[in-house]
């Protein structure tokens, strides 16, 4: 198998603040192959944005403690100096953000902003850069690019602005595009246009894509593999099909059961996840999800689960959960059939003492009692 384009290993990003140490990203590992699409799903405080900003080197500050490794095309980005990172940023790795209106400078024409993006990585004349900008605007579907290149951001609609951002991101032919909630602020029909555009460009230009979002629908459309993040960790990782049809983490189940969808019966009840996202300064002991997990056992409050292979048919499928796999699969089968977690618990016995294999390894076979 070819060497992945981006390989993140055990990345930790902690911020020292007055209130304590914010463990924004707490040991995550993932990889993205050339031309492939990875989806990172999570809610606010999951660490999804911070991890990608760290790949770009945008979280380096005096109070940030970053450890682990980020290998991009053979280069270790964490060890790279600021000048090297600046060459990578916008050149080999590009990023687009959520709100295209506030992400473009309101006082400069979009053409000037595009030209600036191109010339800071390529030694070309202004005229040549301008031609390239017009070319990119055409590529992303802006009508009449020769005229509109001299427009200001506020003269474009939301969808058009996001296309401009995409054009600016891809103007230097990056190998990787990181899209952080690119369609959250857009209308649904515009969202569809933008997602279609990103996918088209991914295939035409062979750009790898990391799509960060909280919207499970979006990630189902775009991603081949998905990482589900919670409280700074990846709690489940797998192919898109696996995550949606055979997930094995209670948080993933919770997400899937709590969202209203168009393809399930209308009267199916929404099952919310109890409680609130945790504080990143004082994370819960043991498994960070345990205060909100309907299937929690005493042992889960003391042992911290590790992301490990689930043993299912999907070779890349990994889960960080202390429940034994047979228990997980039975629970999901019940939930999928339309039962609530309470009903599922009645049906499926959850062992008090047995844990998943690696957890047993952690505790040396001795499971802490209640």
């Amino acid at each position: 198998m070819a060497q992945p384009l981006l390989e993140v290993k055990d990345l930790k990003v902690h911020f020292e603040t007055e209130d304590g140490i914010v463990q924004a990203v707490d040991g995550i590992s993932y990889s993205v192959g050339r031309g492939h699409a990875l989806g990172i799903v999570g809610e606010s405080g999951s660490g999804k944005s911070v991890s990608s900003m760290t790949v770009m080197g945008l979280t380096r500050s005096s109070n940030a403690r970053i450890s682990g490794s980020i290998m991009f095309d053979g280069k270790d980005l964490l060890a790279a100096g600021e000048d090297e990172m600046r060459a990578v940023r916008g050149g080999e790795i590009a990023m687009i953000f959520q709100d295209p209106l506030s992400s473009l400078h309101p006082f400069y024409k979009i053409g000037d902003q595009l030209v600036e993006a191109h010339r800071s990585h390529n030694d070309v004349s202004k005229a040549r850069a301008r031609d390239r900008a017009i070319e990119m605007l055409g590529l992303v579907g802006i009508p009449d690019p020769r005229k509109r290149i001299d427009g200001y951001p506020h003269e474009f609609s939301g969808g058009m602005r996001q296309r401009v951002m995409i054009a600016m991101a891809l103007i230097n032919d990056p190998k990787l595009l990181i899209a952080d909630e690119p369609t959250t602020a857009l209308d649904v029909t515009v969202q569809a246009q933008i997602l279609e555009l990103i996918q088209k460009l991914q295939h035409e230009l062979d750009t790898a894509v990391v799509m960060i979002t909280h919207d499970l629908g979006v990630v189902a459309e775009v991603a081949e593999e998905i990482a589900v993040m919670y409280a700074g960790r990846i709690v489940e990782y797998g192919s898109s099909d696996t995550i949606f049809s055979a997930p094995e983490h209670p948080y993933t189940w919770g997400l899937l059961k709590s969202i209203p969808r168009l393809d399930t019966p209308r009267d199916q009840e929404l099952v919310p996840i109890f409680g609130r996202p945790p504080s990143l300064i004082n994370k819960p002991s043991g498994c960070s999800f345990h205060p909100r997990c309907p299937y929690v056992r005493e042992a889960h409050k003391k042992v911290d689960p590790v992301l490990e292979p689930s043993g299912s048919a999907d070779t890349v499928h990994k889960v960080a959960c202390l429940l034994p796999s047979e228990t997980r699969r039975s629970l999901w089968a019940a939930l999928r059939a339309g039962e609530t977690p309470e009903a599922a618990i009645e049906e499926v016995p959850i062992p008090e003492k047995t844990l998943s294999p690696s957890a047993e390894g952690q505790t040396g076979g001795e499971v802490p009692g209640p």
Binding site: S157, D215, I259, R266
Partner: protein
């Protein structure tokens, strides 16, 4: 047509809201932004009516017109048989007890300097319902429990609560005087996914317990399908389709509704891969200068020149019970092809 056959609580007829555009030396009106341009519908007692549409369609403006936070420039709003469109502030005050709004942004819709107890207790004070402070506190704490907040947090300030909790505070304030109508303007859009379901369930429970009628404004079609009995789809200030939830999602008749449903990303990769999606091109035209006749004709895949841009299509019943404003509504075959989530 709908399952909940109650009598109308609110009857909206030809409602209009035109914001003037002024220019020139004497600030003369040169045009208008036709935010709401002739909207007619009923809100039946006890139902949840959803109003969906994208930005600029006029749904939020319609919500504010019904609750009379804005003065309409045309049309009538009949509340229990009485036209409230032209009423002044004084006459509206008693009505405000009966209709309340829940807003989108839990971070900016609560006064950061007032305690939760004061915020929820304000309706009692404003309408002179309970002047005794101790009794009021009791009522407020009951409300807090009802919406899932800890009554002991009576003296806390908004910033000490999370987004979901703040939205609960907004809900408590809205139901304080047991209104008949709640207008919820995008109540869950600003919340995390795992919290949205909590608030949606809360609203459903409260509606059942208090016998509320709810107008639910949203852009998220999945949420609307789940929570609403009937749905109105708006585009550029007009209603283009009105149907029960079942009917609308199973067989949308207006091409715009079809495009909206087709565009919604579904959390099922297999469905996503096999989708023959209808991606609507172009942008929404300006509400200051809407297209002639059918507003949607500039982007409609079924556009027929000479008809759609000349004859305005009035809302009329179509196949299956939907009421739509279209000369060439979607056929079952087109729906099956383009809207993967429509029932077979």
């Amino acid at each position: 047509m709908s399952a909940t056959a109650g009598e109308p609580l609110v009857e909206v007829r030809d409602l209009e809201m035109h914001f003037p555009i002024r220019s020139g030396l004497l600030s003369r009106q040169v045009g208008a932004v036709r935010a709401v341009d002739g909207v007619t519908f009923d809100v039946l007692r006890g139902e949840t009516l959803g109003i969906v549409g994208e930005s600029g369609c006029g749904k939020s403006t319609t919500a504010r017109l019904i609750t009379r936070l804005l003065d309409p420039t045309g049309g009538s709003i009949n509340w229990e048989g009485r036209d409230i469109a032209g009423l002044g502030r004084k006459e509206l005050k008693p009505l405000r007890r009966e209709m309340q709004m829940i807003f989108q942004d839990p971070y900016s819709s609560l006064n950061p300097r007032k305690t939760v107890g004061t915020i929820i207790g304000e309706p009692f004070v404003i309408h002179g319902v309970e002047t005794d402070e101790r009794k009021r506190k009791g009522l407020v704490q009951d409300l807090m429990e009802q919406v899932g907040l800890n009554p002991e947090h009576y003296n806390r300030l908004p910033h000490q609560f999370s987004g979901g909790q703040r939205q609960r505070i907004g809900v408590a304030r809205a139901i304080a005087l047991k209104p008949k109508l709640i207008v919820a303007d995008e109540p869950v859009s600003a919340l995390d996914v795992s919290i949205q379901a909590q608030i949606l369930n809360l609203l459903k429970d409260l509606q059942r317990d208090l016998g509320l009628t709810v107008i639910f404004i949203a852009h998220d079609l999945s949420v609307v399908r789940h929570t609403c009995d009937r749905v109105a789809v708006m585009y550029l200030g007009k209603i283009v389709e009105l149907a029960s939830s079942e009917e609308l999602y199973a067989h949308p008749r207006h091409p715009y509704t079809g495009a909206l449903l087709s565009a919604v990303p579904v959390p099922d990769p297999r469905l996503a891969r096999n989708k023959n999606r209808q991606v609507l091109g172009g942008d929404v035209p300006s509400p200051a200068n809407p297209p002639s006749a059918c507003r949607f004709h500039t982007r409609c895949p079924k556009f027929v020149a000479g008809t759609c841009d000349v004859d305005y299509p009035e809302l009329s019943p179509k196949d299956g019970g939907n009421v739509a404003a279209c000369h060439f509504p979607l056929t079952d075959e087109e729906i099956a092809r383009r809207v993967p989530t429509a029932a077979a």
